[in-house]
């Protein structure tokens, strides 16, 4: 899975019948994450009622087909959850030559921010 922020929504009336009723959100993956399909954004189905501005966890590839109600859905990215908080020790992933970064463990509480 990867982390990203919901930046928009896609509407489509004419769609694969197996996607009927599925909510499609535009997600921008965070810098250090790289979706297998490349690019700076992706469209993911949403089963957890995420909204624009939410930080989300995105499931990629074949397992994402479990979204939108079945294994035969034409889906390769699905929002798995809405992030409340991230605890992170940046010092453990220091890359040689990556320059100065945050060296101590830190925690980001996303529920305190601009959530709707």
């Amino acid at each position: 899975m990867i982390l990203g922020r919901v930046i928009g929504e896609v509407w489509a009336t004419r769609r694969d019948p197996r996607l009927a009723g599925a909510k499609l959100l535009v997600v921008r993956p965070h810098g250090l994450y790289e979706p297998a399909i490349g690019g700076r954004h992706l469209v993911a189905t949403d089963d957890v009622h995420a909204g624009v501005g939410d930080e989300v966890i995105v499931c990629l590839g074949a397992p994402a087909r479990a979204s939108a109600g079945g294994n035969d859905t034409p889906v390769d990215a699905a929002i798995l959850g809405v992030v409340d908080r991230v605890d992170f020790d940046a010092g453990l992933m220091a890359t040689p030559g990556a320059g100065p970064g945050i060296k101590r463990p830190f925690s980001i509480d996303l529920t305190a921010g601009a959530r709707r």
């Binding site: 990867i2 991230v86 992170f88 453990l92 992933m93």
Partner: protein
Amino acid sequence: MIRGTVVGQVWATRKARGLDGQTLLMIAARDADGNPSGRLVVAADVLDARVGDEVTVAFGSGARNVLRPGAENRDLLCDAAVAAIVEGEG
């Protein structure tokens, strides 16, 4: 599978069906030489891995077999899971 280091944890109350209470860890991936590759991935964990642990992560459909082995796991929304906690390598 890839090798990686557990660097953190992600907390999410609102999650997809079947993942209630599931621990989600942040893993910093390693490259072929064992150095940090700069890539991060979120993986489910049932082995109680801790921050700082070296782990292997299974991706794709195989990850669902870590959470719930068997043919009846295709409804799980999970593409990465900690498959082993590494104690040593040669």
